[in-house]
């Protein structure tokens, strides 16, 4: 049965202060699925997750069950690492999830670790999230005390450990290989892939890195079945998802919604419309790394495949007449990313917003690759002078060519994450940049 606005899974305990404690979580139905899952064979759990069409909520939307299947069958030591580094601007769901429902994450991890035969597992939590760290740490201690974690989980003979590892401020540690380096006590710089973490990850062992929200969905899948979960969604995207809506709407918030919901419905029906009676100018669909949409593109469902393929979304251009090529001539429209929906109203200063995004990437580049290190710095500098009204006549072309020079030429996807929105904003809001340059010439 498809989900509707009343379908709440991972957000069902939001606002329930009690559920943070083990006793409260158990009272609200928590840990009921654990015994059922631990009695299943690991490969059967993975099969359920495959059937469920659960897709990663960390940014790339990769099918979770398929990813789990990449762990070599003969692997001796495997790790599950939960990515709780949430720092993609516009994204504020994982922090909320961990704060309200830490035991759901733990239950999801125990079930997932059983599927992966992973014993030593980690939650990498962003350093600035001190309140959530304390909540999680407390929950982990409770789970150990009650026998949900340890050498013999609820008497099943299964061993499962969770260690909460605090970061110390670095957006790049959200990238999974940078995260693994950071977990190993190194500088958080991304590794070259391949090898992929599922084959050679933490401490050289096969490792699955999953987002907080992804793992929190697993107990529901084990409880009610993969087919049920797939049925909540649409196409190849199972379940519901959390969207974080911020910016110029009347009622911003974190909402669990069906995969079929469109941006227009989200803004008008869930968020009370654009604030101050204004109209939409642009929508960032899934964190600032993703190319924006304009007002004519908002009737597309906020779903992984639709955002990549729906022809109502115009392709991102490198320059007028030349489409950006994702490889093999595939156009780049946009992607669902991290669920961070940012609404910009019709009075918004687009070049200034773009400058703020570029400032972020320039600050967060880890500096390993020249195109990213130098390129993001230039994007920040040039977009700043355009925004300030001091742009030079060729600056739009300059920004496009810098961005195009970064995209696809770096070790990790941070380079693309800076380049794509730059090109996307120029593609769809060129007039706003031209107006700034015209003003600069007049001055």
């Amino acid at each position: 049965m498809p989900a509707d606005l009343g379908t709440k899974l991972v957000s069902m305990r939001f606002g329930n202060e009690d559920a943070k404690t083990l006793a409260g979580y158990e009272k609200a139905g928590g840990y009921a699925t654990l015994r059922k899952g631990l009695a299943m064979r690991p490969e059967d759990i993975t099969a359920e997750v495959k059937t469920s069409n659960l897709r990663g909520r960390g940014g790339a939307g990769f099918a979770t069950g398929v990813k789990w299947g990449f762990v070599p069958k003969d692997a001796k030591t495997v790790h599950l690492v939960v990515n709780a580094d949430e720092s993609e601007p516009g994204t504020c769901k994982d922090r909320e999830l961990m704060y309200w429902d830490p035991h759901l994450l733990i239950e999801g991890m125990i079930l997932s670790a059983h599927a992966l035969k992973a014993v030593h597992n980690y939650i990498y939590i962003r350093g600035e999230m001190m309140r959530e760290y304390l909540v999680l740490q407390h929950a982990v201690e409770e789970a150990y005390a009650r026998g949900y974690l340890g050498k013999n989980v609820v008497g099943t003979g299964i061993e499962c450990h969770i260690t909460v590892h605090r970061g110390a401020g670095a957006y790049i540690c959200g990238e999974e290989t940078a995260l693994l380096n950071s977990l190993e006590g190194l500088r958080g710089q991304p590794r070259l892939k391949p090898p992929f973490p599922a084959v050679k990850g933490l401490f050289g062992d096969p490792t699955i890195v999953n987002n907080v929200e992804t793992i929190m969905n697993v107990p529901f899948i084990i409880d009610k079945g993969g087919a049920w979960y797939a049925g909540l969604g649409t196409g190849r995207s199972g379940g519901t998802h959390l969207l974080c809506v911020s910016g110029h709407v009347e009622k911003p918030g974190v909402f669990e919604v069906p995969m079929t919901m469109t941006f227009r419905q989200l803004i008008d029906e869930v968020c009370g419309g654009v604030w101050k009676g204004r109209k939409v100018k642009a929508v960032i669909p899934g964190g600032v790394s993703m190319p924006p949409l304009d007002d004519s593109e908002l009737d597309v469902p906020i779903e992984f495949d639709a955002l990549q393929n729906d022809e109502r979304i115009k392709p991102v251009m490198v320059r007028p007449g030349q489409q950006f090529d994702l490889g093999g001539g595939r156009p780049l429209r946009t992607m669902a990313g991290s669920g961070g929906v940012v609404v910009l109203d019709d009075q918004c200063d687009i070049p200034k917003a773009v400058w703020r995004i570029m400032k972020f990437f320039a600050h967060e580049s880890c500096g390993q690759c020249t195109p990213c290190r130098e390129g993001t710095g230039w994007l920040e500098k040039v977009s700043r002078r355009v925004a300030d009204g001091n742009g030079k006549p060729d600056d739009i072309e300059l920004l496009s060519s810098i961005a195009h020079g970064i995209a696809g030429n770096t070790i990790c996807a941070l380079g693309d994450a800076a380049a794509w929105p730059m090109l996307g904003f120029i593609t769809k809001f060129r007039g706003d940049f031209e107006a700034k340059l015209k003003k600069a010439r007049a001055a």
């Binding site: 601007p89 600035e128 590892h165 957006y171 917003a353 703020r356």
Partner: protein, 169 residues
């Protein structure tokens, strides 16, 4: 001068060493603890961390200088992390930052620490509370939907009830 960790920190580090196959991953927690106990990560603190975990000094130095929360310089008792990233900027985040600068008499560009060393103001990137923009976090305390006229009250509240980051480690 050779520094030592407190008994409590030593115990915490020893317990953490049990959670990983080697001691190296504990470097991040040890640096957090060092910063808590000594206020900043001076060369001596880095040496202490290196000695405690049997790591080369250069390794510890490399880690300490990579992450923005580790501080090589002294700072205020409380750190106000004010977000100005996209969602906060769209709803007046820079005005709130300016109000903090004005009330505290500091500039984020020149370090942001008050003369009485009570506060350090930082222009922070997205703190994952975008739906309540503009927002700031001070230790474990979030301030949400801030308007510039609330800033004076927030500072007074923090003076009465401090939220130092060190309460976490």
């Amino acid at each position: 001068m050779s520094l030592e960790f407190s008994a409590d920190a030593t115990k915490k580090i020893a317990a953490l060493c049990e959670r990983y196959p080697t001691k190296q991953p504990v470097v991040m927690a040890a640096l957090h603890l060092g910063q808590k106990e000594f206020g900043q990560l001076s060369d001596d603190v880095l040496r202490l961390v290196a000695r405690t975990l049997d790591l080369p000094y250069a390794h510890v130095y490399g880690v300490a200088t990579f992450y923005t929360m580790y501080r090589r310089e002294p700072s205020g008792v409380q750190t106000i992390r004010m977000c100005t990233n996209i969602s906060c900027m769209l709803r007046g985040g820079y005005d709130v930052l300016a109000a903090f600068e004005q009330k505290l008499g500091v500039s984020v560009k020149t370090g942001g620490t008050t003369t009485n060393k009570q506060f350090t103001l930082i222009e922070e990137e997205c703190i994952a509370a975008c739906a309540n923009a503009p927002c700031a976090v001070v230790g474990t305390k979030y301030y949400l939907d801030i308007t510039p006229d609330q800033v004076g009250r927030i500072i007074a509240e923090l003076e009465a009830q401090p939220h130092p980051e060190s309460e976490v480690v």
